[in-house]
Symmetry: C2
Subunit: 440 residues, 2 copies
């Protein structure tokens, strides 16, 4: 149950944007962790401290293609007086049982291959004749083309210190060290490290499954023909895309007609695949506001803790909002207003943080910055409402796009920022400073 | 064929990072456009100018829940002297054939519903008694609970100007206007607009399919047991994740043993689902560098324009690189070095821009910035090499993480930036300025 007791007392009182968000974030808990294959865990939050089971590299290995030799055998070598060594074999990467290098001997060695027993250092192939007897080599010929390279003689033209061109066992990480801390978000480099230390699966919070449905008998699927009085359903598309963008696995159910019973059964039906449910429309004061009507009795009414509460927020657009939990699992549900711009702004302010909280992320919010208002006229905003205007941000300046009308979806598509006008501000002059939410 | 003629002449000459990248970007062409369902087009680049087929809103509609009335009927209305009007019916959103409002009449109207014929303005329900005769109403009761609200009498307490609370047809966008320009990247707000104007599908460049495979007989799948001389395959995981992050649909083929014939057949087999192929390992000068060996003869050798060229770049890490096209469709292939850090840095510098070029994006590169070096000692870099060190960036400062060793994958997992040390710089003192690539 939302903690309504500590909130605005009467049904006519307005909730602030922050009170509504706080209520949502106090209710939404991170999802239970699950063991996932590495690539399924991309973008997820690790819930375990991962320690290194085996040092990296796991054995001394060559950082160059060349020859593994003893230091004394190449001491003083030069182009004029090269060291001539007997090649006793190849050491390829992955070699389980490399040859032994004795005095006066060398083993041809590839990058990443284990330093063979007896060898003390590696001379790069460019410091040798590559076994061809034709002066400094620029590289090695492929083994399949030149199997004879693994025997015969090699001339080395430069000396090498002990353990030159050798990557020491454990020089990257040592067994027992902390590889990644719980709370780390798994991007490509973190997945690289987990794979490198041998972890095939990892324990993370999964991506939340978000079910999106819009309501309204006037809504028609894009691509179909409009009859008089009808409009196209855009919210279910926009919010499904926005939910994915926030990190969720999103399911678009589409538009449901304004009938409380249909809506109730649809929501109950979808609960099985929802970690979070988002509806749009039907939350206002109108006589056809079926979301309000339907959600008063979704799920098992005997369950404790259920219930969706409808509120009016001191906010523009997005004044009417619903929030609560439904069904036996207390699945959180956000009921957003039906107007496309209102629903999108509401998504950014309330649903996106809820999705990221479900993922266990700590950075729940879009970045914000201060910007100078670049406009021909002052921005007007009603007292007592926090207004979110659409704008374009660049180089510390923000320019409003379109007007305040919450139906200006064409302007929204050109915006990359929301301009925040606080409750106690009724006007912002051009050149004034405003807070800006960067939609990224 | 890569334009090698204008590049370094001899096989021993180094290519610069920029020459190699230019060669890749001159070869990689944006993918052919395809008509996709809206939600499948998320993140893709639009290739058509989309015009508005029908104005938004498509008809005058109410922005409030209230009553549609004639202006003269509510002129001078007040709480003391309310206007009493006959309620002739409901106008719900989606209503095809609304009631007609005559003199002395009102129609209950919902947000988004068409302004009915005869009506000139809308009074919000809060300015009326909601038809209940009990003073100002705070909202409407659901129609199913109060069907009688659609008849009887309503008292209106305030006057309204003509077209108050009415959203005019076409006030958002007008039919024939440009909704979205070719080249627009489709995020949630753009998908909202496309849906709102009735577009169910849209013509975009698809996400490229990227096949990732690593090579090396020493590679073992994470989760398995390591034998002596073996290491875990991390590159195929890391680069698959990185390719997805760049916008691609990525397929991880996994590790292929160091056998040219096996590698050749694997690559030929995978070509069918590849718009871009990425290999790691086997590109150096070693005798087991099978990628180099195998790719000299992949696909149909009679085809013009095929072939992968192997180069040495004036770069650290990531010196050995291969690039070219293979197979009948001239599928671009990038052969990256096998070391995990080298391959990841190479991915960021070369593969990511190639993926974004295939998508038709214009912003190919990670953002870069200047930063102050925060370090205990000077950074050293070999003359003539552009060095990319791993670092953490914050507030205009960058701190190196780990050393220059290209095997320091643990450090990579802590980095969020690459520190660029140019070819002509051998040392950067603490407090000096460096260029930084933000890995985001």
């Amino acid at each position: 149950m939302s903690s309504a007791a500590t909130r605005p007392a009467g049904p006519d009182d307005l909730w602030s944007v922050d009170e509504h968000l706080d209520d949502i974030l106090a209710t939404v808990r991170p999802l239970e962790p699950i063991e996932l294959q590495l690539l399924d865990a991309q973008g997820c939050v690790l819930v375990e401290n991962v320690t290194v089971p085996v040092s990296l590299p796991p054995f001394d290995n060559s950082s160059m293609d060349g020859y593994a030799v003893r230091v004394a055998d190449v001491a003083g070598a030069s182009e004029e007086f090269p060291a001539a060594l007997e090649v006793v074999g190849d050491v390829a990467a992955g070699a389980a049982d490399p040859v032994r290098v004795g005095p006066g001997q060398a083993a041809r060695i590839m990058t990443g291959a284990p330093l063979p027993p007896g060898a003390e250092t590696v001379v790069p192939v460019e410091w040798t004749d590559g076994g061809l007897g034709e002066g400094p080599a620029s590289g090695m010929r492929a083994r399949s083309l030149a199997p004879e390279g693994a025997e015969g003689q090699v001339h080395v033209y430069r000396p090498a210190e002990a353990r030159a061109h050798v990557r020491a066992e454990g020089s990257d990480v040592r067994a027992g060290e902390l590889a990644l801390e719980a709370g780390t978000v798994l991007g490509a480099p973190q997945i690289a490290l987990l794979a490198a230390i041998g972890r095939g699966t990892v324990r993370v919070r999964p991506r939340p499954r978000v079910v999106v449905l819009s309501t309204g008998s006037e809504l028609v699927q894009p691509g179909e023909q409009l009859a008089p009085g009808q409009i196209y359903d855009s919210n279910s598309f926009a919010l499904t895309a926005a939910a994915r963008d926030a990190g969720a696995i999103a399911y678009r159910v589409g538009a449901v007609a304004d009938d409380a019973e249909t809506l109730r059964t649809t929501i109950e039906d979808q609960l099985i695949r929802a970690d979070l449910m988002v509806t749009t429309g039907g939350v206002s004061v109108g006589a056809y506001d079926v979301v309000k009507e339907a959600l008063s009795s979704v799920g098992d009414e005997d369950e404790a803790g259920g219930g969706v509460e409808f509120r009016r927020l001191a906010m523009q657009p997005g004044k009417p909002q619903g929030f609560g939990t439904i069904g036996p699992d207390h699945t959180p549900l956000l009921a957003l207003p039906g107007n496309p711009v209102s629903s999108y702004v509401s998504f950014e302010l309330f649903v996106r943080p809820a999705i990221r909280a479900l993922m266990g992320l700590t950075g729940l919010h879009r970045p914000r910055t201060r910007a100078t208002l670049k406009a021909d006229a002052a921005l007007r905003s009603p007292r007592g409402r926090r207004q979110f205007l659409r704008g374009r941000y660049a180089d510390g300046e923000v320019t409003p796009v379109g007007g305040a009308g919450s139906h200006l979806i064409a302007a929204l598509a050109k915006a990359d920022a929301l301009i925040v006008v606080p409750e106690d501000t009724e006007s912002v002059e051009p050149g004034g400073e405003v807070e800006v939410v960067l939609l990224g």
